[in-house]
Symmetry: C2
Subunit: 281 residues, 2 copies
């Protein structure tokens, strides 16, 4: 599974991993912005609640997206692999201007949809310009290499992060979610250290990385994003470490970004938010 | 309170913060190394159990240090400020070849001993070449700027770390302990971001930073040390952030070090452990 190929006559769509527990009442900044990028009042959003085992997850997001101004929002509750053959649901995917994956367990998404026409459709639609986002498990699944599970803790230990294939919309990032809330720096570092070509994105809850078609991340929401850039690593003991050993890794670059900040995945440059207008003391 | 002045005809002693819960049975690597640097079988170790409210903490370390080969080990249970006037205990401090502070609450140490002849004696003895170490609260207190308390979580938030004056053996580091076990990257980053001149040392349990007289850290123990070097910070929102806001900080350098690795506090260079002899697969 390789990243979705982009036709150079078109632009890839936005990729939007959300750290979980995004605000749903009130201003709902993250979901509102998702609807706007999907076309605002002409948006047709397909919801994939496959990660969740709760019966009403899809319906809940249908209602939310409609309340935020989308013209249509349809839940496609894929629950077993043969559901991938349903032509009516595929029609809704092909017609959608935005696709959103809910939270739950990312291994449910990959085991039910991996290798099916649905996974291919998600890559194809995103390559054609359709925004694809997800929250929590739905965020983890978006990238090529996904953290399936792993232990909490700030210090990376060998074998604590289990990395498995995701949907593959991009291979430039490895995503972790509930980041502050579940203490996941160590497992993100472990996952990156295996092959430090990707950038780690640790998403706090109610915080999103809006990755634009040019691979610049725009931060939104009330928490922080921890960007872990391993490209400058000067030493890593991962190859020699035994399971459970702490890993020695030197030369990691770290940025903590808040709403309005950006990070360019090509140049690896972090830019802070513009100054606050109201700052005067 | 400024860092202990070093007489250039002598060498400052080692400074040894330990992350808490160091191994006490078995090989007891950290405490054993402490005894060796204090003089081995001629070591006379003074123990300050002031951080602890348990009645037997001092006696326990007396026994441990004797079992590890020290010639003498004496607990000095300073429990209130006037205890600092006891001449017999001051005599033992002046005669010690190593001084060790136990765990507990670092604010007990600073409120009971701060500004007393005992605090001055610790700085004076260290400046004269005597090794001074401590575990957990006893580690936090060693530096000039100490994290008194703060919330866990990987993302720094304004006001989550309360920084107060410590013993001031060095101002080059800010120490945090139980690092992996209590998820403290965010509070360490918060503490450093106020004034990013110092280096952050996040100590896992059973892990120690042996800081030599030339300010190179030597890592010992079974966990990792997270070195946070903020000297390259390109942007920080600390000055503008409201309490509880996530802080935006870009350009942090991070190293995760394990036993045998070193970090030079002047050059800020991390060096990995030497290769394992037994690696052959």
């Amino acid at each position: 599974m390789s990243p979705a190929k982009v036709d150079f006559t078109e632009r890839r769509g936005w990729i939007v991993p959300v750290g979980g527990r995004e605000e749903k009442a009130g201003s709902a900044d993250i979901l509102r912005r998702f609807v706007e990028l999907a076309g605002g009042d002409s948006a047709r959003i397909a919801i994939i609640p496959t990660a969740s085992v709760l019966p009403d997850t899809g319906e809940r997001y249908e209602q939310l997206f409609r309340e935020l101004g989308a013209r249509a929002a349809s839940s496609l509750p894929y629950a077993e692999r043969r559901d991938a053959d349903r032509a009516d649901w595929m029609g809704l995917l092909d017609d959608a201007t935005g696709i959103f994956l809910t939270g739950g367990n990312q291994l449910r998404i990959s085991t039910i949809l991996g290798g099916t026409p649905v996974a291919k459709a998600l890559r194809r639609r995103n390559a054609k310009g359709v925004i694809v986002g997800g929250t929590s498990a739905g965020a983890a699944i978006l990238s090529e290499h996904m953290i399936a599970y792993g232990e909490g803790g700030a210090t990376p230990r060998a074998g604590t992060a289990t990395v498995t294939p995701g949907l593959g919309l991009t291979n430039r990032v490895v995503i972790d979610q509930h980041f502050r809330q579940r203490d996941r720096l160590g497992r993100l570092l472990s996952a990156l250290a295996y092959n430090p070509f990707a950038v780690g994105i640790g998403l706090d809850e109610d915080t999103a990385a809006f990755i634009d078609p040019d691979d610049t991340i725009h931060v939104a929401g009330t928490g922080g994003i921890t960007i872990v850039d391993p490209s400058g690593i000067t030493h890593s003991s991962v190859a020699e470490a035994h399971p459970g050993d702490p890993i020695c890794v030197t030369g990691i670059s770290l940025h903590i970004l808040t709403a309005g900040a950006t990070f360019n995945l090509h140049t690896r440059v972090a830019t802070p938010p513009p100054p606050r207008e109201d700052y005067d003391d």
